[in-house]
Amino acid sequence: MLDILLDILSWILLLGGALFLLTGAIGVLRFPDFYSRLHAVSVCDTLGAGMVLLGLMLQGGLTLVTVKLMLIFYFMVFSGPTAVHALAEAAQVSGLDPVEDDREDG
């Protein structure tokens, strides 16, 4: 019983994570300017990757595989936001301005 529950949970996490990854990628393609695209990347890096890795961990069970997955998770949790931070900073230094909404509302 518990096995089946864990299995179902891991499938939900895996597919949900993959969906978030796809959502993030579409966001990267569709969002209007660089800074807003960064938000979409963060979805990929944290939520999508986290869910996929968690789903795989549930499949792996208590083995060396899970330890490695946790290491990957650890590296990703730190490297993703850091890379995005460095990107945003470099873009700002280079003088790239965010696109502001220039529609006149009422």
Binding site: V28, C44, V84, L96
Partner: protein, 88 residues
């Protein structure tokens, strides 16, 4: 199930690649490259489980580090060049 996840990630990689080609700024390309790195890591992990050989995770671990370091390297080169251009 793994197959569905694989296909979703492959589609995401393709979509990210479009952004890497379109740019328009260097940062967009670096950002897309970074995202493709993340997706590749996850794809390697999922493929490893799908083929029943999870020891592929070593490769995924190397990818995480490599894609992070190359992103930082591109940005450092860019920033240091442009700092020079400002001070000269």
């Amino acid at each position: 199930m793994y197959a569905i996840a694989t296909i979703l990630i492959l589609v995401a990689i393709a979509v990210g690649l479009v952004r890497a080609f379109r740019g328009p700024t260097l940062f967009d390309r670096v950002m897309a490259g970074n995202m493709i790195g993340t997706l590749t890591v996850l794809l390697v992990a999922v493929l490893g489980f799908m083929n029943g050989r999870p020891e592929f995770l070593d490769i995924a671990l190397v990818y995480v580090l490599i894609s992070f370091i190359s992103t930082i390297a591109v940005l450092r080169v860019y920033v240091s060049r442009h700092d020079h251009a400002d001070t000269d």
